[in-house]
C-alpha cells in the first residue's frame, strides 16, 4: 500500500561491529544504531497501516451476508407481496431453524480445522430414535424422549471425536465413514418402518406451533443456541483455544493447549446439536423414516462457509454461520416465489458459495496487504 520499504530487517542498518582488535572480545555494546545511543523514550509505530482493518473487515463480512439477505427479501417481497406475510415469515424461520442449529455446531468443528460430514445421518438417527421411543414406550414423558434424542446425537459425536482426536484419523475420512455408518444403523433399525404423527403425543407435535412473542419456539431455541455458542467462543479461554488450534495446530501445542481435547469437544457438541435438530425435525414434520436428513451435511457446510467460517479453520463466527443458514433458507423459499426453475435454485446456491469464497480470498489478500502496509520500522 505505502511506498515505503517492506523489506523488514535487511533494510535496517546493518550491525556495525565496533573496531575491536583482532582476537579480543568486544566487551562493549557493539551495535550502535545510526551511530547514536537509542533514545529510550522513543516509541516505534509498528505493524503500520490501518489499525482496525482486521476487525472491521470481519464485521463487514457478516454485514455483507445480512445485506444480501435483506436485498433478497426486498426483491422477493416486491415481486410477490405474499412473501412478507406473517405465516410466510414464520415458515421461513421454521425452515431455517434446523439448518441454523446444524451450522452452529459445524462452525465449531470447522474452526478447529476439522469437518463433520455425518451431521445429516446423526440428525436422521436421532429423529427416528425419538419416533421409535414414542411408539415403543407410549408412557414416556415428552421431555425424557427429547433428551434421549439429543443424547443419541451426543453419542455419535463422541464416536467421531474419539476417532479424530485420539486415533488421529483425518476428520474428513472419519466422518465420511460415520456418515454411512450412522445411516446404515438407522436403516437397520427402521427396517422399512415409518413413524407417523399419529404415533406421537399431541403435546410434542404442538411444540412447533408454540410462539414466544411471535417467534416460533424452535426458532427461539435456534437463536438461543447461536447466542450461547457465540458468547462461549468469544469470551471463554477454551472457546478462544478452538480458534488457536484451528489457526496453527503446532503453535497451539507449543503454548500448552490440550489440542486433542479441544478437537474432541466440538465434535461432541456438534453431535448433540445434530441430535437436537433431529428432535425438532420429529416435532415439526411428524413423519419419520430412515431417510431423514439425507444429504443435509453439504448444505450445512455451505451455510457455514457462506457465513464466513473458514474451511481451513481459525476464523469465522457462529453468527455468520447462522446468517448463512438464514440466507440459504431464504433463497430456497424465495426462488419458487420468483418463479425460478428449481434447477436454478441449486445453481444459485453454488454460485453463492463460490462468490463468498472468492470474496473471502479477496478480502484476505487486501487485509494482508493493508496490514503489512506501513513499513515504518527501521530505527
Amino acid at each position: 500500500m505505502s511506498g515505503t520499504d517492506d523489506t523488514g530487517a535487511p533494510a535496517a542498518p546493518a550491525p556495525a561491529p565496533a573496531p575491536a582488535p583482532a582476537g579480543t572480545a568486544p566487551r562493549t555494546r557493539t551495535r550502535p544504531p545510526n551511530g547514536a545511543g537509542p533514545p529510550p523514550e522513543r516509541v516505534e509505530e509498528h505493524g503500520g497501516g490501518d489499525v482496525r482493518t482486521g476487525r472491521r473487515i470481519r464485521q463487514v463480512r457478516e454485514l455483507g451476508i445480512l445485506l444480501a439477505l435483506v436485498l433478497l427479501v426486498a426483491v422477493t417481497a416486491l415481486a410477490s407481496p405474499g412473501f412478507l406475510s406473517g405465516q410466510s415469515v414464520r415458515d421461513l424461520l421454521l425452515g431455517a431453524t434446523l439448518l441454523t442449529i446444524l451450522a452452529v455446531g459445524q462452525s465449531m468443528v470447522l474452526i478447529t480445522r476439522n469437518v463433520d460430514l455425518s451431521v445429516g445421518s446423526v440428525m436422521g438417527l436421532s429423529a427416528f430414535a425419538v419416533g421409535l421411543l414414542f411408539v415403543s414406550f407410549p408412557g414416556l414423558p415428552t421431555p425424557v424422549v427429547m433428551l434421549a434424542g439429543v443424547l443419541v446425537g451426543t453419542a455419535c459425536g463422541v464416536v467421531n471425536g474419539v476417532l479424530v482426536a485420539a486415533a488421529r484419523v483425518p476428520a474428513l475420512v472419519v466422518t465420511l465413514g460415520t456418515l454411512y455408518m450412522f445411516r446404515g444403523i438407522d436403516f437397520w433399525w427402521a427396517s422399512g418402518r415409518q413413524v407417523n404423527a399419529a404415533d406421537m403425543p399431541e403435546g410434542f407435535l404442538g411444540l412447533a406451533r408454540i410462539s414466544l412473542l411471535g417467534i416460533p419456539l424452535p426458532a427461539a431455541i435456534a437463536a438461543a443456541v447461536v447466542l450461547a455458542a457465540g458468547w462461549y467462543l468469544r469470551n471463554y479461554r477454551s472457546g478462544r483455544e478452538l480458534y488457536a488450534v484451528g489457526s496453527e495446530p503446532a503453535a497451539a501445542r507449543l503454548v500448552g493447549i490440550p489440542v486433542d481435547r479441544r478437537v474432541f469437544a466440538p465434535f461432541v457438541v456438534n453431535g448433540s446439536l445434530a441430535g437436537l435438530a433431529g428432535v425438532l425435525y420429529a416435532a415439526r414434520f411428524g413423519t419419520l423414516d430412515a431417510t431423514v436428513g439425507t444429504g443435509l451435511e453439504l448444505e450445512v457446510v455451505a451455510a457455514a462457509v457462506v457465513g464466513g467460517v473458514a474451511i481451513f479453520g481459525g476464523s469465522g463466527t457462529v453468527y455468520g454461520a447462522a446468517l448463512g443458514a438464514l440466507l440459504l433458507s431464504a433463497i430456497d423459499a424465495a426462488l419458487p416465489m420468483l418463479r425460478v426453475d428449481s434447477f436454478w435454485q441449486q445453481a444459485v446456491v453454488g454460485l453463492l458459495i463460490l462468490i463468498s469464497i472468492g470474496l473471502d480470498r479477496l478480502l484476505a489478500l487486501r487485509t494482508a496487504r493493508r496490514l503489512r502496509g506501513g513499513g515504518s520500522r527501521g530505527a
Binding site: P17, A22, G47, R240, S315, R370
Partner: protein, 506 residues
C-alpha cells in the same frame, strides 16, 4: 558488567541429556546449568543441537537419556504446559503465532485475564499487552490480527509473550535475527532486568558481539555435544569460533582436481525484497561451488529462485548463455538444470511411491510410449541407476519410506541425474545422513564434477564446504558477504563471513 553470582542451586539444569532422531544424534550426554541472576550464552554451528536443547528445556522433546532438573529436583516435562508451569518461557527461532487471532490473544493464549464468571477480560488483556509493548518501547495494536506482521514484529510479539509469563527461566533461540539495533537494545534491557530480578536467561545467537555484550557465561556446543562452558571474561571471539568448528577437516572428501570449463550458470543482481539482495554468482563446468552461511541467510531461497520454483523481483539467470525465464522450473529443466531440494521428504520424493517410480519421475515423458508409461522401461531405467549409485534397497518396487535417509537421497539424485543435467544444484545434500553414506554422496558429487557437470552446493556443514568446494560463496542476511577460493577458505574465514564480521581473520 562482570557478574559473579553466588553459588546457588541452578534454577534449571540438564543432566547428561541425550536425544536421537532416527540415526541422527542431536544431543549426546549434554549437561548445562542455568543459574538465577545469570545470562547464559549458547553458541554452536548449525546442527550442533542448540534447537533440540531448547525444545528439551521447553518440554517439546523428552530426552532419551538423562533428565531435566528444576531447582535441584529431577522433573519430567512431558508437555510444553509442564515446562510453563515450572516457569520456563521460550522464544523460539521461528515465531509460533496464530495468524487469525489478535496480537493480545496471541500473547495471553491460555492465560487470558479473567473477569467474573471466568469470562475473558478483554480490556485487561488489551491493557496488559499495551503495558508489555511499552516496556519493549514499541507500539503494536493489540487488537490487530497477527497475520501480516513482519517477521521482526512477530518476534516482538513472541518476546512480549515470554515477558508476560514472569518467567524464572527465559530461553531465547536467536531472538535477534530479524530485529533492528534499537529493538535489540531494548530486548537486552529486558533480559538484564530479568537477570536483576533473579531469573535465569539462556541466550542463543550467532552474533558474537551480542553474546559478549549480554552474557555472563558462554557454552559452546558441537555435533550434539557439550564442548565448554566458561565465564565471558576468559573468552575471545577467536576462542569461540575455534571451539564451534574445532574438528579436523576429514579426509572423507575425495575432491578431484578439475580444470574448470566454460561458464554454465551466471546469476546477476538477483533480488527479492526482504529475502535476498544483489546476488551475483557464476559456476563453471566441472566446478563445485559451495554456498555457505547460517540457516536463514537466504541460500535455499536463492537456489530456488534460480531454478524457478520461487519468484524474484529483479536480476537475471543465464544457463550456458541463455536467459532463463523466471518462475518456470520446466524451462530450467529443459535448459539442463537440476535441483536436489533441501527437504527430501517434503520436496524431493513422493514418499508413498515406489523407489523406481520416484527415480523415473523426471523422465516420465521420455520413457513413455504414446503417452503411456511402460512398467518394464521404468524398471530397467531405475535398476540401471540403482546400480550406478550403489543403492542399498530391498526391492525397487518397495516404497521409498523403507530406505534410510542416505539411500533416499541417492534416489533423489538418481531422479535428477537421469535428466543429464549441465548444472546440478544440491541443497544440503547430506543433511541427516550417516557418515558412511555421506562419503558416498561426496564421491558422487566429485565424480559428476569430473564429468564436466557444474555443481552448486548449498551446505551448512563446514567440513563439507571446505572439503568439496573449488570456490566458497558465503551469504549473510541475504547478501553474498564473501567469495573465497579453495585456498582462502578456512573454517574461521567462512564463519566470520557467515556471521557478518568481514575482514577479521582469526
Amino acid at each position: 558488567m562482570d557478574h559473579h553470582p553466588p553459588p546457588a542451586p541452578p534454577l534449571l539444569s540438564l543432566v547428561g541429556v541425550s536425544k536421537s532422531f532416527g540415526t541422527v544424534h542431536a544431543l549426546q550426554d549434554v549437561s548445562l546449568e542455568l543459574r538465577g541472576g545469570e545470562i547464559h550464552g549458547l553458541c554452536g554451528e548449525n546442527g550442533a543441537g542448540k534447537s533440540t536443547l531448547v525444545k528439551t528445556i521447553a518440554g517439546v522433546h523428552r530426552p532419551d537419556a538423562g533428565h531435566v532438573e528444576a531447582e535441584g529436583r529431577a522433573t519430567a516435562f512431558s508437555a510444553p504446559a509442564d515446562a510453563q508451569r515450572a516457569g520456563v518461557a521460550v522464544i523460539y527461532q521461528e515465531p509460533t503465532l496464530f495468524p487469525d487471532l489478535s496480537v493480545a490473544e496471541n500473547i495471553f493464549m491460555g492465560r487470558q485475564p479473567l473477569a467474573r464468571g471466568r469470562r475473558i477480560d478483554r480490556r485487561a488483556m488489551r491493557e496488559a499487552a499495551e503495558g508489555l509493548f511499552a516496556r519493549l518501547g514499541v507500539r503494536i495494536d493489540p487488537d490487530r490480527p497477527a497475520r501480516g506482521l513482519s517477521i521482526a514484529d512477530q518476534q516482538l510479539v513472541e518476546i512480549a509473550k515470554a515477558m508476560s509469563f514472569d518467567a524464572r527461566v527465559l530461553v531465547m533461540d536467536e531472538p535477534t535475527a530479524a530485529l533492528s539495533g534499537v529493538e535489540v537494545e531494548r530486548l537486552f534491557a529486558v533480559a538484564r532486568s530479568l537477570r536483576g530480578d533473579g531469573a535465569a536467561v539462556l541466550f542463543i545467537s550467532h552474533r558474537f558481539d551480542e553474546i559478549f555484550a549480554l552474557c555472563d557465561r558462554i557454552t559452546v556446543m558441537r555435533d550434539g555435544r557439550h564442548i565448554s562452558t566458561d565465564p565471558v571474561a576468559e573468552l575471545t571471539a577467536g576462542d569461540l569460533v575455534r571451539r564451534m568448528v574445532g574438528r579436523e577437516v576429514a579426509t572423507l572428501f575425495p575432491k578431484q582436481d578439475v580444470a574448470p570449463g566454460e561458464t554454465v550458470l551466471e546469476v546477476e543482481g538477483l533480488h527479492r525484497a526482504g529475502v535476498f539482495a544483489d546476488v551475483g554468482l557464476s559456476v563453471r563446468a566441472g566446478e563445485i561451488v559451495a554456498l555457505a552461511g547460517l540457516v536463514g541467510a537466504g541460500r535455499s531461497e536463492v537456489v530456488r529462485a534460480v531454478f524457478g520454483v520461487d519468484r524474484y523481483d529483479s536480476g537475471t539467470v543465464r544457463v550456458s548463455g541463455r536467459r532463463l525465464p523466471p518462475g518456470r522450473p520446466s524451462a530450467a529443466m529443459a535448459a539442463g538444470v537440476a535441483l536436489v531440494p533441501e527437504d527430501r521428504r517434503q520436496q524431493g520424493l513422493v514418499m508413498e511411491m515406489s523407489i523406481e517410480r520416484n527415480a523415473t519421475l523426471t523422465r516420465r515423458w521420455s520413457l513413455s510410449r504414446l503417452g503411456l508409461l511402460r512398467r518394464r522401461d521404468e524398471e530397467r531405467a531405475a535398476a540401471e541407476w540403482a546400480r550406478r549409485l550403489q543403492l542399498k534397497a530391498g526391492r525397487l518396487s518397495d516404497a521409498v519410506t523403507t530406505l534410510s535417509g542416505g539411500n533416499q537421497q541417492k534416489v533423489v539424485l538418481a531422479k535428477w541425474l537421469a535428466t543429464e543435467p549441465r548444472l546440478l544444484i544440491v541443497d544440503e545434500p547430506t543433511r541427516g545422513i550417516d557418515v558412511g553414506t555421506k562419503a558416498e554422496v561426496h564421491r558422487l558429487l566429485s565424480e559428476l564434477a569430473g564429468q564436466g557437470i557444474a555443481v552448486l552446493m548449498v551446505s551448512s556443514e563446514l567440513p563439507e564446504v571446505l572439503g568439496m568446494a573449488d570456490r566458497v560463496l558465503v551469504m549473510h542476511e541475504g547478501r553474498i558477504s564473501a567469495e573465497l577460493s579453495r585456498d582462502e577458505a578456512t573454517e574461521e574465514s567462512v564463519m566470520y563471513a557467515a556471521t557478518g564480521q568481514e575482514g577479521r581473520a582469526a
